[in-house]
């Protein structure tokens, strides 16, 4: 288990009584959640439970209809200025990597720093190489994403997000599209990131990862947070029946 020395009681994300609908479908129901700086939270739950939608609300890829989301003391509203400020502070890693296929790995990493953060090109490239070294693929910098394996692509995607020097990282099922032998390299990268004290929200089914790095595990079902606890108690004595059922299904095979 990675001991978290960076955890503080300073909240960076506050979600208060938040609701979201897709048309008439009530996907997120009365979500309240606080995340402190440096905290690592793993969100799990059956498919369709709204866990991806929840973290996509935090950088407003999805728009919530009711309640408040406050990120870094800025409330998420339709105001574009606020939105761009929040998005450059919140990094996101997707299930399907979403690298830009027409740009090299290095260009993928420097595009947003240069144009959004207005970093000089040389500085952006140095930063990108530093982060590509951290995810252990500096030698691939001049290749195109289509020439890399899935695991390598996902590590580039992590480096690309880190190049914006975000305060919070969101992971939306980062290992679900990967072959088993590549899952480990991505999880190792994420564990290393956790060790640096990054605030992380991770939607995943990798329970080993949750046990190792999470400060808190959230179980969601049908748009509600059913249970939240530290990993030890969450896995050893879950309180809710649905949590028990879910854990028995994913752990016993």
């Amino acid at each position: 288990m990675v001991v978290n020395k960076n955890k503080s009681s300073k909240p960076v994300i506050e979600i208060k009584e938040m609701h979201k609908w897709f048309g008439n479908f009530h996907v997120l129901k009365n979500i309240s959640l606080g995340v402190n700086q440096g905290e690592r939270i793993v969100i799990c739950g059956p498919s369709g439970s709204g866990k991806s939608t929840l973290i996509r609300c935090i950088n407003r890829l999805e728009v919530h209809q009711q309640g408040d989301i406050i990120v870094n003391n800025v409330e998420l509203t339709g105001d574009l200025k606020n939105l761009e400020a929040i998005r450059s502070d919140v990094g996101m890693v997707f299930q399907s990597f979403n690298l830009f296929p027409h740009l090299t790995v290095l260009e993928n990493c420097t595009l947003a720093p240069i144009w959004v953060k207005k970093l000089p090109k040389k500085e952006a490239e140095e930063l990108a190489m530093e982060l590509l070294t951290r995810v252990k693929i500096p030698e691939q910098a001049l290749k195109y994403p289509g020439q890399l394996s899935g695991g390598q692509q996902q590590r580039v995607a992590i480096a690309r997000s880190l190049c914006m020097q975000p305060k919070i990282m969101l992971f939306d099922e980062p290992t679900s599209a990967l072959d088993p032998e590549m899952i480990k390299e991505v999880l190792d990268t994420m564990i290393e990131l956790a060790e640096t004290g990054m605030t992380m929200l991770v939607v995943t089914h990798e329970m080993g990862f949750a046990k190792k790095v999470a400060d808190s595990v959230i179980f969601m079902d049908e748009g509600e947070i059913i249970e939240q606890n530290d990993p030890k108690n969450f896995f050893n004595n879950p309180k809710n029946d649905r949590t028990k059922l879910f854990l028995s299904q994913i752990l016993n095979h």
């Binding site: 996101m92 979403n98 830009f100 296929p101 947003a112 144009w115 195109y144 020439q147 690309r160 914006m164």
Partner: protein, 369 residues
């Protein structure tokens, strides 16, 4: 046959069986794979032999390249009478542009390649400096062709004709319609209702009307729609119509490209904090244009060939010049030679565009290992 045995994990890479690769393998698999295929191959070769023999005879061996009239041609040999072309090649190329001033067209044409090089080939050396020339080129070409400045004799547009007219119309139409088409495609995808509605109306109207109608409008009515006092020459009006017409098609081709981009690309760009114009410039357009290259070039080739339609409003494109030549009693009846020559010119231009687009597609393909 006895298989050699290897320990597990030690099986070597063996060469493929003989006769499946290389020239011999290709011929065997593609031309003589079965009895019927072999028969077809042999029949085709025989047919090709007679066809090519006849074509070469008519085109070159029995052809007459210089004579005073069709009758004089026929007295010499019975192949093609290219004299109708060689005697009038000046008209085919320059129309009725004054002979003493034709060097201006030559220079404009040759420098056009320098102006296009940095746009078409991004890896060209000294590209930045050449791009300055590309920006300056339209003014340079305009002054040189039209005259009236710097002591150059002013030439009336009514003297323009031939391949020169085709190239002017085609190049102006292509160069102007691509940016307009991109803007229309983006407009059609816009969240702003007014912009979207205007784009849709423009595209649907331009696509829904035959080009000939638009050309008649250009020749007779367009000045009514323009602010009073403006009076564009017929050439400019025709270029505007060609531009609008093909921009509408290009917009639809590019819209297809935009819609083929996975949603995740926009989400990734959003998550990095990019705004609309940054997303459009760095994510949407590079990918959409790459996907659309075949469709865009298809539209360009169509536009280039459609320039021959200007003959209906009295401009002398190569076909018009050809008809004038055929109307001459000396050359009466040589339509095969005349139209083949014009066709050859169009084929060479269009084939070049087609090859360039293949090269570009290949260059932009980033998936190759």
């Amino acid at each position: 046959m006895s298989e050699k045995t290897y320990k597990p994990g030690n099986y070597p890479d063996l060469p493929p069986p003989p006769g499946t690769v290389g020239v011999y393998g290709w011929i065997r698999q593609n031309l003589f794979s079965s009895i019927s295929n072999s028969l077809l191959t042999i029949i085709s070769v025989v047919l090709l032999y007679y066809l090519i023999d006849g074509i070469i005879g008519w085109f070159f061996l029995d052809a007459v390249f210089d004579a005073d009239s069709k009758i004089a041609c026929r007295k010499i040999d019975d192949g093609a009478c290219w004299a109708v072309i060689t005697r009038r090649v000046g008209q085919f190329v320059y129309g009725f542009y004054p002979e003493a001033e034709r060097w201006r067209i030559d220079i404009t044409f040759l420098t056009m390649f320098i102006a296009f090089a940095p746009l078409l080939y991004p890896d060209i050396p000294k590209r930045k400096w050449l791009l300055y020339f590309s920006v300056f080129y339209p003014f340079f070409a305009f002054v040189l062709i039209m005259g009236g400045y710097f002591g150059l004799q002013k030439i009336e547009y009514s003297l323009f004709g031939g391949f020169m007219l085709t190239v002017i119309l085609g190049v102006c139409g292509i160069v102007c319609s691509l940016p307009l088409g991109i803007l229309l495609a983006l407009g059609r995808q816009s969240n702003l209702t007014v912009v979207r509605t205007l784009s849709v109306c423009f595209i649907e109207f331009m696509r829904g009307v035959p080009l000939i109608t638009l050309l008649f409008v250009a020749s007779s009515m367009l000045n009514y729609f323009l602010p009073p006092g403006t009076n564009f020459s017929i050439l400019v009006r025709v270029i505007i119509m060609f531009t609008f017409f093909s921009a509408a098609y290009i917009a639809e081709v590019i819209r297809g490209g935009i819609q083929a981009i996975p949603k995740g690309q926009y989400e990734a760009a959003d998550a990095l904090g990019m705004n609309y114009w940054q997303k459009t410039r760095f994510i949407t357009l590079p990918q959409a244009l790459k996907i659309s290259i075949p469709g865009i070039v298809n539209t360009f080739i169509g536009l280039y060939k459609d320039t021959t339609l200007v003959v209906v409003i009295g401009l002398l494109d190569p076909l018009g010049i050809g008809r004038a030549a055929l109307a001459d009693t000396k050359w009466n009846g040589l339509s095969t030679e005349t139209y083949l020559f014009v066709a050859l010119f169009f084929f060479v231009s269009c084939f070049a565009m087609s090859r360039y687009s293949l090269w570009l597609e290949n260059k932009l393909n980033t998936d190759k290992k």
